[in-house]
């Protein structure tokens, strides 16, 4: 049994050592907003926040997150910055297929909480999640808009 804190709720889960946080979130806790894309930490579709840091949950072993606060996309509106990011995403009509966007929104939220007025370099350096639909320009526009809002 491992106890983890997801979106401010403690869960005692029966997970094997080494099991990635992603699969605990998706298949044990049933929160499917966090996506499996590559499983090797390349694409970022599985991004969650751990103590506010964007983290690729597909390569994060469950035993490494005990005592830390994990935030998934399901709690995005509990955070004022998260709410602003979602509104900017809607206003800029960012998503296409949408599969990567949970991770993109969380990455943007983490960025804006750390740098409320990020530079273009900040955006380039931190918004590294992949999008096969190529919504990158809309993502950057939405980040800039959320920063202003």
């Amino acid at each position: 049994m491992v106890t983890i804190t997801i979106n401010d709720i403690d869960h005692a889960v029966e997970a094997d050592e080494g099991m990635p946080l992603l699969w605990v979130i998706r298949d044990i806790l049933g929160l499917t907003g966090t996506k499996y894309g590559c499983g090797i930490g390349m694409c970022g579709a599985c991004t969650v926040l751990i103590d506010g840091q964007p983290t690729r949950s597909c390569v994060t072993p469950i035993e490494s997150v005990g005592g830390l606060a994990v935030t998934t996309i399901e709690a995005i509106e509990d955070d004022p910055v998260g709410r602003r990011v979602v509104e900017a995403w809607v206003a800029s009509q960012v998503p296409q297929c949408g599969y990567c966007q949970s991770g993109q929104v969380l990455a943007a939220t983490a960025l804006l909480k750390q740098s409320p007025q990020p530079s273009e370099e900040d955006i380039t350096a931190t918004m590294t999640n992949l999008c096969r639909c190529g919504t990158y320009n809309a993502i950057a526009a939405a980040v800039r808009q959320a920063a202003q809002g």
Binding site: D27, T32, C38, G39, P95, Y99, N137, A138
Partner: protein, 740 residues
């Protein structure tokens, strides 16, 4: 007609269609009391009714449902996978029905004859809007008329005295109004009116406007549900390990007992060409199946597409380059042989483009559930539900109508979710669910997806052209060597191989395009813009070579060769203007970097596209700064979605130009994930400028046409900047000279 349509037309016969009120024909299903309107094909109604009698309520064969609360549910014949089709359909139907598109709920319709517009049904070929535009308008208009008639009966007034405003029927004289929801049940009892007048285009309120997408908020909050997210009561999870080379079958499992004892493992299964583990969690199933030590048999000699142990893409490229012509003729004008003979100068070049994976971010999965009554429910990504239903029924050994197909939104597709041999997980899921007697969710890991995806073909194109004394092309001879997806007979060139090479608009009097068919053991698929995805690179790259050889500017040469093609010429001028006036360069940009521009044109999916790209070289690699695209799809429904799709296409076209390549050595793909098969990242994304030109020509496609022009525009810019002509993609294979 593009390559995909050609196939589907062969599969099913087209037929006339007109709206009928399905609610009067027992099609109400779960939506009793609602107005349910569908397009039934005259010859097919009986068949559909029959099916409905066999399984009452199994198919809700309808398009429009107006609920008592006024909400409108629309059954879409097309699947949403990011291209915006659900929103576009809501705009089209809403325009005629007089309902704000924002109040629509759009779902992917189940299989059935009602949704086979034109006699077949699939999402692809950039054809969803243009193939359904008239039908959807007529459906909306007929439904509105029925609501008017119901209101007229209720109020005892002539229909002519009534009108509508969004969501309700009004009587302007008295100011009385009845909501659509109030009238839905009565309207449902009326016959479907024929020949209802459509709204004048000048009165459009939603068609032509940048309506907000219906799915964007959910997708921004992680609430959109894809197949991989579907959960069914009592389900187990499955993972597979495929034969490393297609055609191999599982022999002995050396450590079967050990793996069976792993935590959470329910059972181990041998499947055609694969082994599977079913477990309580997918992670455990995957750990277990990858721990299995399988000895794979060599493919039987007659296995179709069996992957030989010595197959390599490098050897394939060489084989194709030297395969003898002349091939199967796809186009012939004039006498290219004689013109080449008499040319002042002959230019020759050989181009190639690699195998590509689709790389849609949602890995393929299927949930299969056998029900007590012998029917089967499948949740699966698909671009053609009826075809999947038919094949699933064959795999399951049950009647087609006993397979229920559920089609959640797609986490990207780009051609990935057609039916391909050995490339779809659903047959495995069906077998596993039957074997364990419980619902099974099967997910292919990204690594298994790289092994079994149906690939964009590798093709070699050989060009010979003749120039006259003025340096203008008088003849062009093209042989495309290799293969592509399709079902054409052996003596016919494949549409997917020659599209975009044949029938170019340029005034070159003598020309031949042919397909030298050389099959090879790779499962080939449709990849966003299909043959155009590489053929524009081949042709437009070579055209720039002709311009250089003849001493002409490539933009000016194109204008000249399009002198008698006003639509193309207008578009080329539009993209030149959009980019601030054509300049090839090299020139020094404001940041001090040396840059150049390239231009290309393409005619994919009945749309016309002109593209300009600006590049520099940094640290030996190509950097693309801006891409300008002028697109003429005839007419459009949603300019914001058009711009988003063109921008998306630029990203994918650029990704293929810069980075993507599937390499096989010793019968194995060298990349099994995105670490060794990178695609375009955010820092590589250029600014994209889109101009939509509505020429009024018949409506063309939008989802794919932005792709093909990008690789040649970039490669032509690179040639202008570096003097280096790249004839083999991707550009990452080439180390360029140049600094910041």
């Amino acid at each position: 007609m593009n390559a995909i349509e050609r196939h589907m037309v062969n599969l099913e016969q087209s037929s006339d269609r007109s709206p009928v009120n399905l609610s009067r024909r027992g099609f109400l299903g779960a939506s009793l009391g609602a107005l349910v309107l569908g397009v039934a094909l005259p010859g097919r109604v009986a068949r559909a009714q029959e099916a409905a009698e066999i399984e009452p309520g199994m198919r809700v064969s309808a398009f429009i449902e107006i609920r008592a609360d006024g909400g409108v549910r629309l059954q879409s014949p097309f699947i949403e996978g990011g291209q915006g089709i659900y929103t576009a359909l809501a705009q089209i139907v809403g325009e005629e029905l007089d309902v704000d598109p924002a109040s629509f709920i759009v779902e992917c319709a189940p299989p059935g004859p009602d949704y086979q517009l034109g006699g077949f049904r699939f999402t692809g070929g950039s054809r969803s809007v243009r193939s359904s535009y008239e039908t959807m308008r007529r459906l909306g208009a007929a439904a509105r008329q029925m609501l008017l008639q119901a209101a007229a009966a209720r109020l005892d007034l002539p229909v002519a005295d009534l009108s509508t405003e969004p969501g309700r029927v009004i009587h302007p004289a008295s100011g009385h109004a009845l909501s659509y929801g109030e009238l839905a049940a009565e309207a449902a009892d009326l016959p479907v009116p024929e020949n209802v007048a459509l709204r004048a285009e000048t009165d459009f309120r939603w068609i032509g406007q940048p309506a907000a997408r219906l799915d964007v908020r959910d997708k921004s909050m992680g609430k959109a549900v894809y197949t991989i997210d579907v959960k069914v009561d009592g389900m187990l999870h499955a993972a597979v390990q495929h034969a490393p080379r297609l055609g191999g079958e599982p022999g002995t499992l050396a450590n079967e007992a050990e793996v069976k004892a792993m935590h959470g493992v329910h059972s181990i299964h041998r499947l055609p060409g694969a082994v599977a583990v079913v477990a309580d969690l997918w992670w455990r199933a995957r750990q277990a199946v990858e721990a299995l030590q399988v000895s794979w048999t060599e493919p039987a000699p007659d296995t179709q597409n069996a992957m030989p142990a010595d197959f390599s893409t490098e050897a394939l490229r060489a084989k194709l380059a030297s395969a003898p012509g002349p091939g199967l003729q796809a186009e012939s004008h004039g006498d290219p042989a004689a013109a080449l003979e008499g040319a002042a100068r002959v230019v020759e070049a050989t181009y190639d483009a690699p195998l590509l994976v689709h790389g849609q971010l949602e890995p393929p999965s299927t949930i299969a559930r056998w029900n007590e009554d012998g029917t089967l429910d499948l949740w699966l990504p698909n671009q053609a539900p009826d075809v999947f239903q038919q094949v699933a029924a064959n795999v399951a050994g049950i009647e087609q109508q006993n397979v229920r197909i559920h089609s959640p939104m797609l986490g990207g597709f780009f051609g990935r979710h057609f039916l391909y041999d050995n490339a779809n997980p659903f047959p495995q899921a069906i077998l596993l669910a039957r074997a364990v007697g419980r619902p099974v969710k099967l997910i292919w890991s990204r690594e298994e997806e790289f092994l079994r995806d149906a690939m964009r073909p590798l093709v070699v194109a050989r060009f010979r052209a003749g120039l006259d004394a003025e340096g203008l092309p008088t003849a062009i001879d093209i042989e495309a060597v290799g293969d592509g997806p399709g079902f054409e007979p052996p003596d016919t060139p494949r549409a997917s191989v020659v599209e975009g090479l044949a029938e170019k608009p340029y005034a070159i009097p003598n020309r031949r395009a042919a397909h030298v068919k050389v099959p090879y053991p790779v499962t080939l698929g449709y990849w966003r813009s299909v043959g155009h995805s590489m053929n524009a690179f081949f042709y437009e790259g070579f055209l720039d070579e002709l311009a250089d050889a003849g001493g002409h500017d490539p933009y000016e040469l194109r204008l000249r060769l399009l002198a008698d093609q006003p639509r193309h010429r207008t578009l080329l001028e539009a993209v030149g203007e959009l980019s601030g006036g054509w300049k090839r360069g090299p020139f020094t940009a404001e940041d001090g970097s040396r840059r150049a521009r390239g231009v290309a044109m393409a005619s994919p999916f009945e749309s016309e596209v002109a593209t300009i790209a600006e590049v520099s070289i940094e640290h030996g690699e190509v950097v693309v700064h801006d891409v300008w695209v002028a697109i003429d799809p005839g007419s459009i429904v949603n300019p914001a979605i058009v711009e988003a799709q063109v921008t998306s296409s630029v990203a994918m076209g650029l990704s293929s130009a810069l980075l993507e390549e599937v390499v096989y050595n010793d019968g194995m793909p060298q990349a099994r994930n995105f670490d060794l098969y990178p695609f375009l990242a955010r820092y590589q994304m250029p600014r994209v400028h889109v101009r939509i030109v509505e020429s009024g020509a018949p409506m063309g496609g939008i989802g794919e046409p932005g792709v093909p022009g990008v690789p040649p525009a970039v490669v032509n810019a690179v040639a202008a900047l570096t003097g280096q002509r790249v004839r083999s993609l991707p550009l990452s294979k080439v180390q360029f000279e140049g600094t910041l």
